[in-house]
């Protein structure tokens, strides 16, 4: 375990997540009010969007940005096929549940990405600002693939589909991320300067408290879980490893820098637990949230935060030959 990995476990951000896990396992009544948690999640999305936009306003949009976008969208569309196959064959899930879970693994987790950015920056491998746009673009394609897999080609009611598409493209996180990203581009570094004390200086601290809450929620959910088999646990750890490795490797092959490659790997590895569950509840009410939420939130999310981000970072360094830790 090298210095960079160790650093992960002395970072307050990760330690607060561990505290949340431990407190919930010890059955402490520690809890963060929902309104506060919701507020923090909006803050984090606005801040990451803004920062990404400001970064792009400096660097401009070049072919790398387009390549990363295409790569991310393709991954989000295609990853659910593989996940669906594994979930059915090895995980022994039915068609509906397999499709629903697959959608989660094709989509992304904003908080996992945000935590990865913090860790990569601390290792001197900052991802490009445009990765925020890549993240936003990756949220929704997987939902379409997942539904296709779960319901087959012939969707019955067309009216409901347009409702769903609207819900998916204008869902709160996509709108806020892309909106803040656009504001960052328009306002630029100068305009951002005015609000930087709020959106930049407070960022890591808010992330600490938010991860504390995520730790509490993740651990409480797994203690209540009933529908989870050992096969599903294996998949919830195996998929982020495989998807992450493929994503990182593809990004390096396409010429992205080390930080952006690791970040794309983390995006591929991460599983949604906000946008996709809400969409699945609407479109696939027969699917069991006890399966898809527990897998993505209680197993994959902690695994990514505690271990997989570090692995993707090392992998990207190894593949690009650029170690960030010693500048």
């Amino acid at each position: 375990m090298d210095a960079a990995t160790l650093q992960t476990f002395t970072s307050p951000v990760v330690l607060f997540f561990v505290l949340g896990l431990l407190a919930a396992f010890a059955r402490s009544d520690l809890a963060i009010p929902e309104a506060i948690a919701k507020g923090m999640s909006l803050y984090l999305m606005a801040a990451i969007g803004l920062k990404g936009g400001v970064a792009v306003s400096k660097s401009g949009i070049d072919s790398t940005v387009l390549i990363a976008l295409v790569l991310g969208i393709a991954a989000s569309f295609l990853m659910p096929f593989f996940a669906n196959f594994v979930l059915k064959v090895f995980g022994k899930l039915g068609r509906i549940n397999a499709g629903a879970v697959a959608a989660h693994y094709g989509s992304v987790s904003v908080v996992t990405f945000v935590t990865a950015v913090e860790i990569l920056e601390a290792q001197n491998k900052p991802p490009g600002g445009y990765m925020v746009a890549v993240m936003a673009a990756m949220e929704t394609p997987a939902i379409l693939t997942g539904l296709l897999l779960a319901r087959g080609m012939g969707s019955k009611d067309g009216q409901k589909t347009s409702e769903l598409l609207h819900e998916v493209f204008f869902n709160a996180s996509v709108v806020l991320l892309l909106g803040a990203f656009a504001i960052g581009i328009i306002a630029g570094a100068e305009g951002f300067g005015e609000v930087a004390p709020f959106f930049e200086a407070g960022f890591k601290g808010v992330l600490c408290l938010f991860l504390l809450d995520m730790g509490l929620i993740a651990a409480r959910r797994i203690m209540d879980a009933r529908a989870i088999t050992w096969r599903l646990v294996v998949i919830a750890i195996g998929l982020p490893l495989i998807n992450g490795t493929i994503g990182t490797a593809a990004a390096v092959a396409c010429g992205l820098d080390v930080g952006s490659s690791a970040a794309l790997g983390v995006l591929c590895a991460s599983a949604s637990y906000i946008a996709v569950p809400a969409a699945m509840r609407l479109a696939l009410p027969e699917a069991d949230p006890g399966i898809y939420l527990t897998m993505s939130l209680s197993i994959t999310f902690p695994f990514n935060i505690l271990i997989n981000i570090g692995l993707m970072s090392m992998l990207a360094s190894a593949l690009t030959g650029v170690g960030g830790a010693t500048p």
């Binding site: 929902e34 948690a37 919701k38 999640s41 946008a275 509840r281 609407l282 009410p285 069991d288 006890g290």
Partner: protein
């Protein structure tokens, strides 16, 4: 003495994300209004839930008061969604003042 009339009070537990479908149905059958009450946690066949507001999978109660006829029409209107999404609908008789408005 104040006069009271008997109406139905209907209570529907629904996903927050699907609130619009329920209130559309209330409007459609011609009920004058409705009120939404927040819900903080619960347990059903799918197990326990709480603090799902961060995940957008939380629930609310929709309360509405209506005549017997409209209440029945609302129940008919909502029946397919209820079964599909596992909502809960219950109703009972209440006495109300200013009954003409319901």
């Amino acid at each position: 003495m104040i006069e009271t009339v008997v109406r139905k009070r209907i209570e529907i537990l629904t996903d927050t994300a699907l609130l619009g479908r329920v209130t559309d149905a209330v409007d459609k059958v011609g009920i004058t209004g409705w009120t939404v009450v927040p819900v903080s946690s619960g347990k059903g066949r799918d197990g326990r839930w709480r603090e799902e507001r961060v995940m957008g999978t939380d629930k609310v109660f929709v309360l509405t008061i209506a005549s017997q006829d409209k209440a029945q029409a609302l129940a008919e209107e909502l029946a397919p969604v209820l079964t599909k999404y596992g909502f809960i609908l219950s109703m009972w008789d209440v006495e109300v003042i200013r009954g003409e408005r319901f």
